[in-house]
């Protein structure tokens, strides 16, 4: 199908984009890569009166390391981050998860921050951001605020972005010395949406497991290695997320993935740690 009618604006700066946002309010949508939004517009699952295209803004096109974070601008594509020099050392979880994001062709255009803004429950990038305890930088005409991943994503396709605000960057903590990272997911075919995605971090005797695709937003299990039975913790975690049956998988199957693949991915993270 074709999208419904809209005005198209291509501002030359973030400030211009923000003044457009405050002018048009809820009638406007930000577009960068459009790999989620264009599909929804085409299917008429979403409509916008005004599209504000930030995809060409140079000031949002950089990845840089600032104060313990890898900061990814809102116009940086998933492919650009995946090919960022040294990514496997800077943040191995991203290097392991990004090849699972969409397809080669959609990663070429889709942005890292767009995926975070879309907040699909099965999406890999919001899962990594939550597992790593990253941050989202939001700007509006009246100022800037930074939210933790946990505060940013409020539920399925729902975020704390306020009217007049846009994401300008996402901040992923860089890898800690000696920490191990692993990622795995189950999808019907390569490039499909994950039925369940799992991100694991092992550091200082603590295991941290993030799960996407079960609850409405990424869920996190923290567990001390010395605390005993991991299987019990995983089983409790699998039930607590209260996943539901849908056309992709049953709730029971999702719990089973969390238990089985969860253990595997945690063990992989542990073996990568020192």
């Amino acid at each position: 199908m074709k999208p419904s009618n809209f005005d198209y604006c291509r501002p030359d700066s973030v400030d211009e984009a923000l003044s457009l946002l405050s002018e048009y309010g809820d009638d406007a949508r930000i577009i960068a890569g459009g790999q989620s939004l264009m599909a929804m517009l085409n299917l008429r699952l979403a409509a916008a009166d005004v599209l504000i295209d930030i995809g060409r803004l140079q000031e949002l096109s950089e990845c840089r390391q600032v104060g313990g974070y890898l900061e990814v601008g809102a116009a940086v594509t998933q492919a650009k981050l995946l090919n960022y020099p040294g990514l496997a050392e800077i943040q191995p979880l991203l290097a392991k998860a990004l090849p699972n994001v969409g397809h080669f062709q959609t990663r070429n255009r889709g942005t890292v921050c767009g995926s975070i803004a879309h907040a699909d429950p099965s999406s890999e990038i919001p899962l990594c951001l939550a597992a790593l305890e990253g941050e989202v930088v939001l700007r509006s005409a009246s100022g800037t605020r930074t939210l933790s991943a946990a505060d940013f994503q409020t539920g399925m396709l729902a975020t704390a972005i306020a009217p007049g605000e846009m994401i300008t960057a996402a901040r992923f903590p860089v890898a800690e010395q000696g920490a191990g990272y692993a990622f795995a997911e189950v999808a019907r075919r390569r490039g499909d949406f994950a039925i369940v995605g799992l991100a694991a971090i092992a550091r200082n005797g603590t295991l941290r497991l993030g799960a996407g695709g079960v609850a409405g937003k990424p869920a996190i299990l923290e567990w001390q290695i010395e605390a005993g039975q991991l299987d019990d913790a995983l089983n409790g975690f699998a039930w607590e997320m209260e996943g539901e049956d849908d056309i992709h998988a049953t709730a029971k199957y999702r719990r089973q993935i969390v238990r089985q693949l969860g253990r595997k991915v945690l063990e992989e993270a542990k073996s990568c740690s020192s």
Partner: protein
């Protein structure tokens, strides 16, 4: 700042397969429709129109992307390549197209132009990709005829020759 109003047609210019082209588009017109309906370049096919099937894949600034998830006005000023730009000036098939023909990598041909554009992007960045890397790229396309075996054989032959430029 560029501002284009709805219900008005706007001039869009870009470079298509090495030559400057222009046409008229509503703000909401998809690049896939612009290529086919405005420019008459019907080698780019339209399947699902939500980024899943891969039939509409073209190269924008060298990168294989879905033209159904890109607006025509977003392509303004860019360098775009479609399947029409693959063969030589004399119409001779390039190495990848020749391999597709040899290995029966197409039957109905609906998905073919998109797959060729994706593989062309991959081979330009990496002339000798592994089977796994090729599968990752081909995984972004739906082919209902071949079962993909011929497509993989063709791509692997080009990868082995390291001549997929």
């Amino acid at each position: 700042m560029l501002k284009l109003e709805k219900d008005t047609r706007h001039k869009v210019r870009f470079v298509l397969n090495g030559s400057p082209v222009s046409g008229w588009a509503d703000a909401r017109m998809l690049l896939s429709d612009f290529l086919r309906q405005e420019l008459g370049e019907t080698g780019t096919h339209v399947g699902c129109e939500h980024g899943v099937c891969g039939a509409c894949t073209v190269r924008i600034e060298g990168r294989a992307v879905r033209s159904c998830l890109t607006l025509a006005v977003q392509a303004e000023g860019f360098d775009i390549q479609t399947v029409e730009g693959l063969a030589g000036d004399d119409g001779a098939l390039n190495a990848l197209q020749t391999a597709f023909r040899k290995h029966h990598a197409l039957q109905c041909g609906y998905c073919t132009s998109g797959i060729l554009m994706s593989l062309t992007d991959m081979f330009q960045r990496n002339p000798s990709p592994s089977r796994d890397e090729i599968e990752d790229v081909v995984g972004g396309h739906i082919c209902r005829c071949t079962g993909y075996a011929g497509i993989m054989d063709a791509a692997l032959e080009v990868a082995e020759a390291g001549a997929g430029k």
